[in-house]
């Protein structure tokens, strides 16, 4: 069995107004070193397959079909084995 950890963020080229609002708030708290903030979604899938490759493949398909919208979002997938 594998756990797939998926991060979805608004594309780098698109303004993320939520991230900007939080960034301003962080700046006002004195965190001058934080120069960019982007907010996204985190999704975990438990996938009952035999290999990491298969888990990756299913995760990628799920992102393309449903979990992310390719018009405005990017995603990253990290798969690890779970006992």
């Amino acid at each position: 069995m594998y756990k797939s950890k998926i991060n979805i963020t608004i594309r780098k080229t698109i303004l993320d107004p939520q991230g900007k609002a939080v960034e301003h708030s962080l700046k006002s708290l004195g965190y001058e070193k934080i120069i960019d903030t982007r907010i996204g979604k985190y999704i975990e899938l438990i996938i009952d397959v035999k290999s990491e490759d298969e888990a990756e493949k299913i995760s990628k398909e799920a992102c393309e079909k449903l979990l992310a919208n390719s018009v405005m979002e990017d995603f990253t997938i990290h798969v690890e084995e779970v006992k």
């Binding site: 608004i10 303004l15 107004p17 919208n69």
Partner: protein, 223 residues
């Protein structure tokens, strides 16, 4: 007006379905039925309305889950065969997610849910949705959305402009939409998506009737 047979899709979480139904049925005296999201077919309907609301709780992304509902399979195949489909607000989001319209609706630029009447400009009156309006006419229609910030890449925008697919723009952009876009049609000119709510502006009792001509245009087109 006997030829129009309107179907208003009801998703779990739709909340403007009755408004749309009321305008077609009672204001425009049209044969109108609700279509439940679990239905497998749109039956004999020749105009499909995807109403406003929060289908499937807006979970994941607005409209993302709705596109896989049972009724949408038939709506998509109907649209691909040239059938008339109008998505209002959440319905517009569903149409973009389903790939029937290009682009996507993102969070409003100011992060706020905006509920007010705005002024739209009719950019193209040569469509089946806007035939009853004058070109460049300004109309007042209410909006009520948190995710109405229309976005598409440059290539898509060029194509939207080139093919006269932009039907309505905001005169004072409320949500950050690219090129002030409020409503677009597909390249085949049979699918319309718009964020504003013309069904809330179709009777004197709701304050103005600027939205009614959109529905009259589309009914006229199927006669």
């Amino acid at each position: 007006m006997g030829a129009a047979k309107v179907g208003v899709v009801v998703f779990p979480g739709s909340n403007c379905d009755h408004d749309a139904y009321n305008v077609f049925k009672n204001v425009l005296n049209t044969d109108t039925k609700f279509l439940w999201h679990k239905d497998g077919s749109i039956g004999d309907r020749n105009i499909i309305i995807l109403p406003g609301g929060f289908s499937y709780g807006d979970y994941l992304r607005c409209g993302a889950i709705s596109k896989f509902s049972n009724i949408m399979k038939d709506v998509i195949s109907f649209a691909n065969k040239g059938g008339i489909v109008i998505g209002i607000c959440n319905g517009f989001q569903v149409l973009c997610e389903a790939g029937l319209l290009p682009g996507a609706l993102m969070r409003n630029k100011n992060l706020k849910f905006i509920c007010k009447t705005v002024t739209l400009k009719v950019e193209n009156n040569k469509s089946i949705f806007t035939g009853e309006y004058k070109i460049k006419e300004e109309i007042n229609i209410p909006i009520a959305h948190g995710e109405g910030n229309y976005f598409c890449d440059d290539e898509t925008l060029t194509s939207l402009i080139g093919k006269n697919q932009i039907l309505f723009t905001y005169t004072d952009n409320p949500n950050g939409s690219i090129n002030n876009i409020a409503g677009i049609q597909n390249a085949n000119r049979n699918v319309l998506g718009l964020m504003p709510h013309p069904e809330r502006a179709s009777e004197e009792i709701t304050g103005n009737t600027d939205g009614r001509r959109l529905f009259e245009s589309v009914i006229e087109s199927v006669l």
